[in-house]
Symmetry: C2
Subunit: 149 residues, 2 copies
DNA sequence: TCTTAAAAGAAAATAATTATCCTTTAAGTA
DNA sequence: TACTTAAAGGATAATTATTTTCTTTTAAGA
């Protein structure tokens, strides 16, 4: 995907900092503000934390990115895309998208509540297969631990 | 429900402050920490904000209460109960529980991902029937606006 | 009652986020 | 290509949110 166009289409100026942020999100899938800041300082040694927040906010306001709020964790941000859910391993922190078919539930709730629904946020949490077997392993100190898919 | 027993069952001391917090949550259904603090100061004029946080944290840790993270809003807390979803009106802020049948989705995700799922968090957001009709109404300044159920 | 570990309260410390102000730059226009 | 300007960046201060520390009070069990 071309992030320059993505930004332009949403009426935002194309800056190296924004491209860097989007590129990081693309690589990592989901990333918190501070992870973002830590990682981006390699490329933009003088980038300000204020710039990070300003960009995250402006890109959220124009729907280029989306915030995912996660129980007991800090929010992560992802490039906006069609509705989907998330799956979290409470043990190792693995976090991934899942395809969803919420249509039936959404329709049902729409009818009963008469709400016009525009947004869904679903996070399922549990223990991933690897952590189920590595029995006595305590909760990881590290926010993103082993990768195993 | 008897909150004294609820606290005892979870190994927490019964204090007037905790009972006040639980009673407020019971009345309001869902409430943020600062709303909680504002409201509780009437009864406990000298209650400390630190006490609020400490109690919210201890009652969360022992699963007496649950945090609900909501897109673009501050978290609200509720007395823990069986799994359910939430419905938010983005216009007036109305916020309510909804019954859910996520079983099919949860089973499906469990099988595909091999995760052992233990927690679900679903928030549906949209426009409530009243706000749909009061056409040009802008987003309310007030966190909890008209009540209409 | 007496004992004690947990909780409350006050204040300070930390963390997270936003605002301010001045400089720089992207992007449209001459 | 240079000029103009509104938007964005960077540094820092200010706010806001949350946690920690330390001392006093209190719930709950002996």
């Amino acid at each position: 995907m071309n992030y320059e166009n993505l930004l332009r289409e949403h009426g935002l100026k194309v800056t190296p900092q924004r491209l860097g942020i989007l590129s990081l999100m693309d690589q990592k899938g989901h990333i918190s503000v501070d992870e973002l800041y830590l990682n981006i300082k390699d490329q933009f040694t003088s980038i300000s934390l204020a710039t990070m927040y300003k960009n995250v906010n402006s890109m959220m306001a124009s729907s280029v990115i989306t915030e995912v709020k996660i129980p007991k964790q800090k929010s992560r941000f992802e490039i906006a895309k069609e509705a989907h859910g998330h799956l979290l391993c409470q043990e190792c922190g693995e976090f991934m998208d899942i395809e969803l078919d919420l249509e039936k539930i959404v329709d049902d709730v729409s009818i009963k509540s008469k709400y016009k629904l525009v947004e869904t946020s679903l996070v399922l949490s549990g223990i991933c297969p690897l952590c189920q077997h590595s029995s006595a392993s305590p909760v990881s100190i590290f926010p993103v631990a082993h990768s195993h898919i």
